[in-house]
Every structure is written in structure tokens, then in C-alpha cells.
């Protein structure tokens, strides 16, 4: 019985590996001026138009936008700043999150 449980656990771990590998670097963008849900969508769209972006998640309360890139695809601060500006807002801070963490911001 124990062998079966260990086998199932090992199988599940194997299944998770490709998912984990698919998550590339993620970046935290602090966007100034963001204050309503309808405006948040414009920022999401502009950032999502960047080649290699797999996901964007906005926290309107903190003004933080998490951008998740594909594996091995970096995001430059210059490009992020330009896209935020095209959405009509201002990029205050840009940082790479450690470990490719793709969790949504709190």
C-alpha cells in the first residue's frame, strides 16, 4: 500500500515538472495613477501585448502589476515603462521577482 502511495506521489511530481518549467521569470511593476478597474484592463492589455508574456495580474489596491514571462524570456524595464506609458500611466518601480514566482499578488 505504501508503495502505491509513493508511486502516485512520484507520478504527480513528474506531472508538475513541465508546469513548473513553463513558468519563466516574473516581474513586479509598481504603476502610479491606477485607481479604477476599467483602467486596469488597459494596462493588462498593453503588457500582455509584449512578446513572451504569459500572464499579467493587477492588484488595484497596491498598484502592483505582476508580469509572468515565458521560460527564458526576460522583460526589460525600458519596455515595461513604454507599455505602461502607452496605457496612459506611469511606471514608478520595476523589479524581478525571485524564483519565477507566478503567484498573484496579495
Amino acid at each position: 500500500m505504501k508503495i502505491i502511495r509513493h508511486s502516485i506521489a512520484a507520478l504527480m511530481l513528474l506531472l508538475l515538472i513541465p508546469v513548473a518549467q513553463a513558468a519563466g521569470p516574473s516581474y513586479a511593476l509598481q504603476v502610479d495613477g491606477l485607481a479604477c478597474p476599467f483602467c486596469a484592463y488597459g494596462i493588462e492589455k498593453k503588457l500582455s501585448s509584449i512578446k513572451g508574456v504569459e500572464d499579467t495580474r493587477v492588484n488595484i489596491k497596491t498598484g502592483e502589476v505582476i508580469v509572468v514571462m515565458g521560460e527564458g524570456v526576460p522583460l526589460s524595464e525600458e519596455l515595461a515603462r513604454r507599455k505602461v506609458k502607452e496605457a496612459g500611466f506611469t511606471l514608478r518601480a520595476f523589479s524581478r521577482r525571485s524564483g519565477g514566482d507566478a503567484r498573484a499578488p496579495e
Binding site: 509598481q30 502610479d32 495613477g33 491606477l34 485607481a35 479604477c36 478597474p37 476599467f38 483602467c39 486596469a40 484592463y41 488597459g42 494596462i43 493588462e44 492589455k45 498593453k46 495580474r57 493587477v58 492588484n59 488595484i60 489596491k61 498598484g63 506609458k85 502607452e86 496605457a87 496612459g88 500611466f89 506611469t90 514608478r92 498573484a104 499578488p105 496579495e106
Partner: protein, 333 residues
Amino acid sequence: MPPNSYRVILTKAVAGAGLPANGPGRNHMAVRGQARSYGGIFCLIGSVAIGAGNAWSAPITFNTALPVAKNEFLVREQFIVNRSSDDPGPLNRDRTAKVAVSVLGYGVNGKLALFGVLPYRDNELKLRVSGQRVSRSASGFGDLTVFGRYTVVQQDQPGRNFRIAPFAGVKAPTGDDNKRDALGVLPPSVQVGSGSWDPLLGVVSTYQTLDYQLDGQLSYQLNTEANNFEAGDVVRLDGSLQYRLWPRTLGGGVPAFVYGVMEANLIHQQKNRFNGNKNPDSGGTRLFLTPGIQYVTRRWIGEAAVQVPVLQELNGDALENDYIARVSVRFNF
């Protein structure tokens, strides 16, 4: 108008029922004669809103300075019912204007946005002429308004922003201004188009936080002559407060907001002209208070408001507004 209900036309209506006419000019002149015989048949029919050109979390009855993202489109559909039935004169006039306003916004870049506003109108004027109740009506696409708005001041801070954006454009005579019924050519207040090119300009400002938003707008529309009729120029001052009612406490992500809205619209129109002569029974000043509500999500906004006239200082024998009701939806593409 704005953007979205972008302006209000205070049209001095010509109650021309029962008069034969071969063209707009003749009809208007004949109506002038009848107006004199009735001791003031002309009436200030009321506001016909041309739809808001705005498409953000924003005021319901006028524009905002919030941005349209580069190469992105916003769409708004607003439905307006404008009732005017309190007639101080003997004609017992009753006017209903129903308008469906389509607004398309396009972001050229983060600061410059272009807008197109196209109304579909259904106008009806009922009045008593020679002891008989008559009804005159018209429906169809109205005049297209196009304008650009450029942000000259932008101050972004965490969770808030402040913007000032002048705008300028023109209302083009795309709507039919020569509609007729069995009684002849319809008066300007019933026509769906004006026939005139009318430039407009103004400035809008927005202060937005996570809890509330303030907007203010000053605009001027220069109305020009067509068919021997020239509506008076319109200047208006608008203000809006949108306050977040729900959620009371913000969590993570992007939750939908419910805003309580209170707006004020101060609108002044100069006197209309027929054949170059001022109509003493046209133009005036109105002040509306407009309570409303908005439900704002990432992709769409639903909203409703009622403009209640609290002050109507109109010239001559004018027909006052009862109310203007608005329901609209906006979409992010």
C-alpha cells in the same frame, strides 16, 4: 459626450404644425408668422443630449480626462429619454426625444484620444393647433460628432491621478435635416439632423483616487446656420463626483466597483436665429442635478442616471424640461 453626452442642444422649437411649406426656409418663415399670431408659439423645447464620449469609470453626462490606451478601442452605448411637457403657454406642448448614442474612442497614444459620437434619434412633438392636437415626429441617425482630446497635465501617484485635457472637434451635418410629414417640413427641434457644421472646444479635468473621482468640464459649441436657422451657441459647465460604495474595503486583484454618482450640469444657450433675427423666446440657462449609479468592472461598465432640472431660467414662452433619463454600457476591447 462627452467625450460621451457630450453636449446638450437647447433648441428653440418651432411648432409649425398645420402649415404648408415647400422647403425649410419657407416653413420656418410661415411658422414665424403663426408664432406671432399665437403670441409666442416658439418654445425652448429642451435638452437633447448627444451622448457621452467618455468610456471609463467617469461621469455619466459628460467626458473625463482619463486615458485611452494606445491602439485600443472603447465603445459606449447610451440610451436617453428627454421629456418636456410643462408648457406655460396655450399650445399644451409635449416633447419626447429618445436617443441611442454610440460612442467609439480610440487611443492614438497615452495622451491623445479620438472620439466619434453618432446618435440615433426618435423625436416627437405634440401640441395643440387651432383646437386640434397634432403630433409631429421624426427618427433616424443624427449628426456625427468627432473630436480629439489631448492630455496636457498628467500627475500620477500611487492609487491616484490628476489630469487636464483640452479637446476640440466638430459636429458634422450627417443627419437628415429636411424630414417632412403630412404637414410639411418638420421644425428644427423635431429634425434628426441640424444641417450645420458646428465646432466645439473645451477642457476637462479629472482627479481620481481609489475611493472617489472628481471631474469637471467647461465646453463651448459654436452653432452655425443652416436652412435659415441658427441654434444659439451653447456653453456648459459640468461637475461630477463618483464615490465608491462597494466594496467598502479593497482586497487584492481587481474587484468590481459600485459607484454612487452625483453630477451637476449648468448649461446656457444663446438665442436662436431665424433668417438672421434673434428669437426672443429661445435660449436660457438650465441647471441639472444628476444622481446616478455605476457598476464598474475591468471589461465593462453599466450605469444609470436621471438629470433633474433644478433651475430653468429660460427666455420667453419656453417649454421646460421634466427630466432626462440615461442608461448606458461601456466596453473595453
